[in-house]
Amino acid sequence: MTTRKNGERDALLQGTLDLLVLRTLRAGRRHGQGIARAIQQTSDDAILVDHGSLYPALQRLERRGWIAAEWGTSDNNRKARFYELTAAGSRQLAREAGRWRRLVQAVARVLGPDGARG
């Protein structure tokens, strides 16, 4: 199956990265580097965002109308493209987050208390 190959290559599943980006932008507008940085920090460095996958993901989210972008100036006075969550993006975030939680709970139930044996 082709998906196996994808699974090995990507550190993070595509759908998951989208979810994380949306969640990060809920706190306010950020540029790409800021998003990557925020995800890394919030997850206590458990999730390393592949910067190379981040931008195609941003493109994708923008195309779907979940985030909007415009050029602005960063804190240290550099030109950067800033992203912002749209109303549709907020709704999508709520939907995806709920779905994700249910999946995690379901997986947890299946694995059971002694998941280590699985």
Binding site: M1, T2, T3, N6, G7, L13, Q14, G15, D18, H31, G32, Q33, G34, R37, D50, H51, G52, Y55, P56, Q59, S74, N76, R78, K79, A80, R81, R99, R102, L103, A106
Partner: protein, 878 residues
């Protein structure tokens, strides 16, 4: 506004640059050296070029790349399930193949260009009249008269060259006379069409200079090979056509069989028409529709421009016909351009393509079922792909690519059927020399491709949407929820199977009706003797014999024929019944004294006085005329049918009443029972039996010697031929039996029956597989439920009943709807049923019993499996 193209590329580059700078700045603030920080930022980003590439691909070549990937993925999937793939391919090949076959028949007749060099500029010319039209017709009214052709040829400004021709049957003389197809052509015929003369010469303008001027003939290559052994010394030899000598001057290029759908044998100058007809009628003088006009348009001239040009010329001729308005129709030349064919052909085409479409639809329904079943078994795979971030649209695209791939592959396989099948149909037709080019060209390939794509959408769209409508978690857990799960899909599959059962019911009912119609022809009594009745037709008139010599031929021949041992009785008539229709209006005297006469359109035959006894046709009142009465001066005696009498003189004694036809007056001596003289299915129509040569409707009616033999006709025909040759070897003889005519009458019914029967059986096979699949699948979904029922004490009988009910509901629904549609459709087929009721109980009963039997088998097998379910096992399963 979203920036596009180059600007977007630049913007993306700038954004990445910005990112690298920001990241480097951050690392620097954490204590790295500027150069190190920059390198680290780049490392963290990965390959900048590859990201750019991904961005680039995403916009331009993504769809192509996806298509390639999808196709490769699909092929891998097909290889993994060969049974599914082969079933699907076969289904599609048959469905699309038959449909394309039917299309290619119509296409080669009505769309394909004539088989001539540079056919693009070749166009046909027909006339459409409105208002008062009063003209003689030999062929069809849309054809041109000689004077009209000449006017168009000389005055038009849109054609490079305009030719005319008319195809006719003639007798080719020699020791053994035989029929040949002859085309009377204008002398620019070959040059207009750019047909090469392979041997000798073609016509020159001089050959057409005056009526009867040049008795010369050009042979077709095929005829030259079959009748002259491809003898290169044939030029200068003489061919006898209707006993008239024609010098053979040339042989046309190989492969050219003329511009009519029946391949032509010889061409002669159009000015030989009166001579060929022995001066009986001169179509160069009369204003009579008889010429097919074909021309080569000047470069750059469209058909509509030419139509306008020629219409102006035709309007000038209209001035001699007050109240008439002519429109000229110039169309790109095909075999079937005559508006008469176009009109009738349109209806037939609709029926034929409707039938083909139904077959494709049933094939699609079957595939849809297969795909729905497959979609269910692929839920897990699709669920994983959704979880990994594949969009739903992307998955639908993937699934449709699979359908498309299957469909186009099936369509390609179907082209083999499409090429063979029409030949098989043509083989069943009674005429020979049909020159239909059935080779697949762009038009036919395009049709097959279009059918394939439409079919792919028809069977692929619903399963694709259904299969990808998953909630992620449930798909991964491999279970169904609500209407999105297997239950909903099984309902959809039920509908599909019902449609299939309906379609096959429709086809089978039609097939059964046609078969019953054919039986009816065999058993139907037209009302007179049919067994062992032979018609002997000769052509002394065509040979230029005068009436005394014609009489001598018959006087010599009839006693000899009558003396043949198996001949029980003989008589003379203008023709054998069932051999086409002759009809005339007559004026019947009014039922009331002094009233206006009533006009009655009636079919007729000219017969000898012993016709009625020979044909065992009962006279219900009065008597047949005698030979003496028929020859006597004054009102001519005549026998009319019951319907004629009822129409003309309702509630009155018809005997002794009069009617007129032209100047001749007739008196009714007898009433014959209503019989079928023209066609079997027709309702009773007025009919007149005139004494021979009494109707005054022309010498062309001809004479047929009718012999009634006791039994089979096969042995007698050889002896008849021998006798005719004894009397006059130049005579061309045509022998026909009423039984043959009846078989010919039944031919359209036979063809329709074979087609719908073949398609019906195919469709039923598919529908049975469908029913079986739906019911088995239903059982597998309900294993747990059935297990619980059994555990709670349900009997196996009630479980079987449960499953059977599901299957019967689906099948029964389809059959019911199919029967209703069939009842409507068969009303339209009435003319093919010979008076059989479109709701013939026997036909319906046969189909219903067949369907019930077949559906029961498809339902009972899974039902028995359901009854054998072990509750202990199923309850532990989940």
């Amino acid at each position: 506004m979203e920036p596009t193209g180059k600007r977007r590329d630049e913007e993306f580059s700038r954004e990445i640059e910005a990112h690298l700078e920001l990241e480097a700045a951050r690392l620097e603030s954490e204590g790295l050296l500027a150069s190190e920080a920059r390198a680290a930022a780049r490392r963290a980003f990965g390959n900048v070029t590859s990201v750019r590439e991904r961005f680039y691909e995403a916009r331009r070549w993504r769809w192509l790349e996806r298509l390639r990937l999808d196709a490769a993925y699909a092929v891998r999937g097909f290889r993994a399930s060969p049974v599914f793939t082969v079933t699907a391919l076969l289904t599609l090949a048959f469905g699309i193949g038959f449909n394309t076959a039917l299309f290619s028949l119509l296409y080669s007749l009505g769309v394909r260009s004539l088989p001539v060099p540079e056919p693009e500029r070749v166009a046909t010319v027909f006339q459409v009249f409105s208002g008062r039209v009063d003209r003689a017709v030999n062929g069809s009214v849309y054809m041109l008269a000689w004077n009209e052709y000449l006017a168009q040829r000389d005055q038009n400004r849109t054609f490079e060259s305009l030719a005319a021709h008319a195809q006719t049957d003639a007798t080719l003389g020699g020791e053994r006379a035989q029929p040949a197809r002859v085309t009377l052509a204008t002398c620019n015929y070959f040059s207009t069409l750019r047909i090469r003369i392979a041997l000798g010469r073609g016509f020159v303008a001089d050959d057409c200079a005056r009526s009867g001027g040049a008795a010369v003939a050009v042979l077709s290559d095929a005829f030259w090979r079959s009748h002259f052994g491809a003898d290169s010394g044939v030029i200068g030899k003489v061919a006898l056509l209707n006993q008239l000598p024609f010098d053979i001057i040339g042989v046309a290029e190989p492969g050219f069989g003329g511009t009519e759908v029946l391949a032509n044998d010889l061409w002669i100058p159009v000015t030989m028409q009166p001579a060929l007809a022995r001066g009986r009628y001169d179509q160069l003088v009369q204003e009579m529709s008889w010429l097919n006009v074909t021309g080569r348009l000047r470069p750059g001239i469209t058909e509509s421009k030419a139509s306008a040009d020629l219409t102006i010329i035709a309007r000038q001729l209209d001035s001699q016909h007050p109240g008439r308005e002519t429109r000229v129709l110039v169309q790109h030349a095909t075999f079937g351009n005559n508006p008469e064919i176009r009109q009738r052909g349109g209806i037939i085409a609709l029926g034929v393509l409707g039938l083909g479409g139904l077959v494709v639809l049933i094939a699609c329904a079957n595939l849809m079922n297969l795909l729905l079943a497959r979609a269910m078994s692929r839920r897990r795979e699709l669920g994983i792909r959704l979880a990994l971030g594949a969009g739903r649209g992307r998955l639908i695209g993937q699934l449709l690519t699979e359908s498309l791939l299957l469909s186009v592959a099936g369509g390609l396989a179907g082209l083999i059927i499409a090429e063979r099948f029409p030949r098989f149909i043509i083989g069943l037709l009674p005429m020979t020399g049909l020159q239909l080019d059935l080779h697949p060209d762009l038009g036919i390939l395009g049709f097959a491709l279009l059918t394939s794509v439409l079919a792919a959408l028809a069977f692929g769209l619903a399963p694709a949407f259904r299969a990808t409508d998953l909630s992620l978690t449930s798909a991964l857990r491999n279970e169904g929820v609500g209407s999105h799960g297997p239950r909903g899909t099984s309902r959809l599959r039920g509908v599909v199977v019902a449609v299939q059962m309906g379609g096959s019911t429709l086809l089978l009912v039609l097939a059964a009706l046609f078969v019953r119609g054919m039986q009816r022809v065999a058993t139907l009594d037209p009302g007179f003797a049919t067994r062992g009745v032979i018609g002997v037709s000769l052509n002394p008139g065509e040979l230029g014999y005068d009436s005394a010599r014609v009489q001598a031929v018959y006087d010599a021949l009839t006693p000899r024929l009558a003396a043949l041992p198996s001949v029980e009785s003989w008589t003379l008539a203008s023709k054998l019944p069932f051999l086409g229709r002759s009809s005339t209006p007559v004026l019947a005297e009014s039922p009331r004294a002094g009233g206006e006469p009533t006009s009655i359109q009636s079919d007729f035959l000219e017969v000898s006085s012993n016709y009625f006894s020979t044909m065992t046709l009962p006279i219900v009142r009065g008597r047949a005329f005698t030979a003496v009465e028929a020859a006597a001066p004054g009102d001519r005696p005549v026998v009319v049918s019951e319907t004629f009498a009822r129409r003309a003189w309702p509630d009155l004694d018809p005997l002794g009443r009069h009617f007129r036809l032209g100047k001749a007056a007739f008196v009714v001596t007898g009433i014959a029972r209503d019989v079928h003289n023209v066609s079997l299915g027709d309702p009773d129509a007025p009919f007149i039996y005139f004494p021979r040569a009494a109707s005054g409707l022309g010498d062309d009616l001809g004479t047929t010697i009718i012999l009634r033999t006791g039994g089979p006709t096969s042995g007698v025909t050889a002896r008849i031929s021998a006798l005719v040759r004894q009397v006059d070897p130049a005579l061309a003889l045509r022998l026909e039996t009423i039984e043959e005519r009846l078989a010919l009458v039944a031919l359209p019914t036979r063809l329709a029956g074979m087609l719908s029967g073949l398609f019906g059986v195919l469709a039923l096979g598919m529908a049975v597989i469908g029913v079986y699949g739906v019911v088995s699948y239903g059982v597998s979904l309900r294993r747990r439920e059935i297990g619980i029922r059994l555990a709670l004490g349900a009997t196996t009988r009630s479980v079987t009943g449960l499953v059977v009910r599901q299957g019967i509901t689906v099948a029964g629904l389809g059959v019911g709807v199919g029967l209703i549609v069939a009842a409507g459709a068969s009303q339209l087929m009435r003319s093919l049923l010979f008076g059989l009721s479109p709701l013939d109980p026997a036909a319906l009963a046969i189909v219903i019993v067949l369907l019930a039997a077949v559906a029961s088998i498809a339902v009972l097998a899974p039902a028995r499996r359901a009854a054998r379910i072990d509750p202990a096992v199923t309850l532990r399963e989940e």
